[in-house]
Amino acid sequence: MNKEPLAWYIAGPMIGLIVPLLLILREKQFGVSSSYRYLISLFTKKPNYFSYDNKVDAWQIQFALGLIGVGLYYFFTNDSDFFFNEDLKNNFPVDFYSLENWFIFLGGGFLVGFGARYSNGCTAGHCIMGMSQLSPASFIATIGFFVGGLIVAYFVNPILFSY
């Protein structure tokens, strides 16, 4: 079963609207990956990176709970065709969402966490929020995201999945 995605010109502006909504309703700048730092800071203050005034990031874990809730909604309604979109599988005939690929999820997740904290932001904080503010740091980080992604797409995934 194929399902058309929500068109980019509708979805993109909706994502962009999170920026003013968060600023006006919560006085917060959009970002997601500080939640990792926050989560760990609940359990340990060492290394020093985790000993900070973590209250400022508490909202991000609430935001993340909203994201997890949506995931659960799609899980229970079984409306997750986008995972298995046949059109996309024609381009990449790979059964990616399989537990056999556990090491990719674990290792890739590690890089996402390490990289996001090292670069001081992720796709949300740098690509969307930072570039909306025209922050030079965010343009550099976004270039980095694409350099990393292109390396994987052209040199690593073809070997991992032999396509």
């Binding site: 990449f92 990289g115 550099i140």
Partner: protein, 141 residues
């Protein structure tokens, strides 16, 4: 009361983002591969129009001096420019993004959608964060 309102707002905005990212298939590994192979405009249009909308909103907020719900002026902090960290960290993040097809927000959606895979991602991301904290002083910033 105020606190509960704030929590509800944060959860709702997270859910709003979750629905849009899922319905637009931006959480799919296949969409991310397609993007990095320049096979479709979808993801570029999505990211581009999100940034344009965000930037225009910020201009409007500034011009009209729109205040926050608590009647405070909207203050923006610039991301500090630490170019080595921004770039090297960015590349590492990009490697992870390309491998898993999930950046930070889709990662949390996956925790709900497919908890075994999602938890692997989350455990990975938290270990990565912890490892960064251990190495922080030794890394170029």
């Amino acid at each position: 009361m105020k606190k509960i309102t704030n929590i509800i707002i944060s959860i709702s905005l997270g859910a709003f983002l979750g629905f849009v990212l899922t319905e637009s298939q931006a959480i799919s590994w296949y969409r991310i591969q397609e993007m990095f192979h320049f096979q479709s405009f979808h993801m570029f249009g999505l990211l581009g129009s999100a940034v344009v909308t965000g930037a225009l909103s910020l201009i409007i907020i500034k011009k009209l001096k729109i205040k926050s719900m608590n009647n405070n002026p909207v203050k923006l902090k610039d991301k500090p420019l630490i170019w080595k960290a921004n770039l090297f960290g960015g590349i590492l993040f990009g490697l992870g993004w390309g491998l898993t097809g999930a950046c930070s927000a889709p990662l949390f959606i996956l925790v709900g959608l497919s908890w075994k895979l999602g938890l692997l991602l989350l455990i990975g991301a938290l270990s990565g964060t912890f490892f960064y904290a251990l190495l922080k002083d030794k890394l170029p910033h």
